[in-house]
Amino acid sequence: MSSTDLSIQLTGLELENPTILAAGILGTTGASLKRMAGEGAGAVVTKSIGSEPKEGHPNPTMLKLDCGFLNAMGLPNPSYRDFREELSIAREGGVPVIASVFGAHPDEFAEIILGLEGASAYELNVSCPHASGYGTVVGTDPVLVEVITRAAKQATDAPVWVKLTPNVTDIVEIGEAASRGGADAVVAINTVRGMAIDIHSGYPILGNLYGGLSGPAVRPVAVKCVYDLYKALDIPVIGVGGIGSWQDAVEMMMAGASAVQVGSAVYDNVNIFSEINSGLSAYLKANDHSLDDITGLAHRKVEQ
C-alpha cells in the first residue's frame, strides 16, 4: 500500500477512502446518496429506515447552534417497502451503500434487513425507544443490543455495524454486547442528548422539546468513546461526531477509528468528503504514514 493510498477494507467491504456519509444526513433518497458518492464519500449510509412510514417530529427539527447542531428529526422514513427503490438508485453511485435500520425489537430489525436486501452492509441504529420501558432507548440496554445484533446477523450475510449512543454510563459495555452479538463493527457516536430554549418565549425550540447534539461540540466526546471502544473491542470502530476537516479525521483515527463518518459538516460544504480525502492524502504522504499506521496510534503512544 503506497502511503497516500486511502483505500481500506472495512468489514469485508472495499472502500476507496475512509470517509463515509453518516446516517440521516442527505440520505433520504437514492439520488441524494448518489450525489454524496459523487462528492467523494467512500461509502454512504442511508437515513434510518423502519418498518412503517413515519413523518417524524414536528418542526423545528434542526437548529444550528454556536458550536454544533441540535436535531430531533424523529426518524422520518417511508418504511423499507418504499425505500427499496431508493436503495437501488443509491447503489448506482458506485460506492458501498449501508442501510441504516431501526426498530424496537430483534424481529423488527430482521424484517427490515430482509426488506432492504442488497445493501452492502447494515447499520443498526439502536436509538429507538424500548417497546417496553418508557423513556430509555434500546441502545442503553446491553442485553437487547446483543440479541438485536444476533438477529440482524442471522437475517443477512452482509456485514452488520452497530451504531452506539454516547448517552450511557459506559459505552464500552454496550460495544461489548454488540461484539458478543456478532457485530462486524461498531459506529460511535450517535448524537448527544441536548436541548435549547427560546428565551423570548420560554418554549423549547425543537418540536420534540429536546434532541441530539452533533457537530464540533461533540467531537471530544466522540474521540473519547472511540478511544475506549478501540481499547476494549477486537472489531473495527467507525468514528463519527463533529468531523469537519482532515485534521479531525486524523484525530479520530488516532483514537482508534478505522474509518470516519461525516454528518453535520455537510452544512458547510457537501464537498467535504473530497476535501478531507485530499488533506488526509497529503498528511499521510508528508509523514510517510499509511492509514493503518494512524489508526489507534494514540494507544501505541500511551503504551510506550
Binding site: R35, G56, H200, I205
Partner: protein, 292 residues
C-alpha cells in the same frame, strides 16, 4: 442560528385567504430567499420574504391558519434568510445551476447586487424580464420585481389566481411595470390559466423568466418556455417539504440530481427542472413519493 423574535407590527389582509404580516425585524435577504417561520408550540414552516420584514401567508392548514390569526404585538420566531434566491440576469448570458454546485449558502448569498450591472449593460437584448406569479407565489416575486424595476430593468408581470379577489400584489406589481392578469373563473383579465396570458407576449423578447406558483401551473409555464426553446432562461422557485431548512437532513432533495431545494434552491433553472421530478411527484414528510 436560533430563531430570532419577530413582533408583528402590521397586518394586511391581501385577499380572503392571504395575509401579509409585517414585523419589527429587517433581514438582509435576496429576493427569493426564504425564512423558517416558527409558530411556537405548533410548527415551523418555510415562507418567502415578501419584504425584508414581511411574510405573506396563504391559509392552507394549521400553521398558516395560526399565522393568519395573529394580532399586532404577537410574535413569531424567524430563522434565515436561507436558500439561494433569484438571480437577476439579462443580455442572454446565463449560468445554469449545475449539479454539485454550492449554489446558495443560506444567508450568505446576495445575488441581488449583480442586478446593478443591468443599468450599464448596453447589449441588444434590452434587459426585459417576465415575472409569472401564481397565487401566493407572488410573495417571493414582489421584491424581485421591485429590485429589478429600481435598477432600470423592464419588468412585465403575469398574475394568476382562481378568482379576482385572490389576485396578489396587483397594485405593487403595477408600480414595477406592465401587469397582465389571468383568473380561472374569468372574473378579471384572461379567463383561464396563466399560461393563456403568456400568449399575448413575444416570449423571445424576454431575457429571463421568474416563476413561482403551484407546481402544476409552473410545469405548464415551463412546457411553454421549453417549446420556445427558452427553458434555460427560466428560474422557478420550488416548493418541497422542508425539515431542517439548512441543507443537512435531505428531506427536500429532488430527483435525479439530489439537489436540496432548501439550500441549492428554492430557485432552480428550467433546464435543470425539465430533467427532474418537477411536475411529476414530490415527497411528503415521511419521504414517501406523492404524484401530482
Amino acid at each position: 442560528m436560533r430563531p430570532i423574535n419577530a413582533v408583528i407590527t402590521g397586518i394586511i389582509r391581501e385577499t380572503p385567504t392571504i395575509t401579509t404580516l409585517r414585523t419589527d425585524i429587517e433581514l438582509d435577504a435576496a429576493p427569493g430567499q426564504f425564512v423558517m417561520v416558527w409558530v411556537r408550540g405548533l410548527d415551523e414552516i418555510p415562507m418567502a420574504l415578501s419584504h425584508p420584514g414581511s411574510i405573506t401567508v396563504q391559509r392552507v392548514g394549521e400553521a398558516t391558519e395560526a399565522l393568519s390569526r395573529l394580532d399586532v404585538g404577537d410574535s413569531i420566531g424567524i430563522r434565515g434568510p436561507f436558500g439561494n434566491g433569484f438571480e437577476v440576469k439579462w443580455g442572454g448570458e446565463r449560468e445554469g445551476v449545475e449539479k454539485g454546485d454550492e449554489v446558495g449558502k443560506g444567508g450568505e448569498v446576495r445575488k441581488g447586487e449583480e442586478v446593478g450591472k443591468g443599468e450599464k449593460d448596453g447589449d441588444g437584448k434590452g434587459n426585459k424580464i417576465m415575472i409569472i406569479a401564481g397565487g401566493v407565489g407572488g410573495a417571493p416575486l414582489l421584491p424581485l420585481a421591485q429590485q429589478a424595476h429600481s435598477r432600470g430593468l423592464d419588468v412585465t408581470t403575469l398574475i394568476g389566481a382562481r378568482t379576482a379577489d385572490e389576485l396578489l400584489f396587483e397594485e405593487h406589481f403595477s408600480k414595477c411595470g406592465a401587469v397582465s392578469i389571468a383568473t380561472d373563473d374569468g372574473s378579471k383579465g384572461h379567463h383561464g390559466f396563466i399560461t393563456g396570458a403568456m400568449d399575448q407576449f413575444n416570449l423571445a423578447g424576454f431575457d429571463q423568466f421568474y416563476v413561482c406558483g403551484p407546481e402544476l401551473m409552473m410545469k405548464s409555464v415551463l412546457d411553454i418556455l421549453q417549446a420556445a426553446g427558452l427553458e434555460a432562461m427560466a428560474q422557478l422557485s420550488l416548493h418541497r417539504y422542508f425539515k431542517c431548512g439548512i441543507g443537512v437532513c435531505g428531506a427536500c432533495t429532488i430527483d435525479p440530481s439530489g439537489l436540496r431545494v432548501c439550500r441549492d434552491g428554492p430557485v432552480l433553472s428550467g433546464d435543470l427542472l425539465i430533467k427532474s421530478e418537477f411536475g411529476k411527484y414530490h415527497r411528503d414528510a415521511a419521504g414517501k413519493k406523492i404524484m401530482f
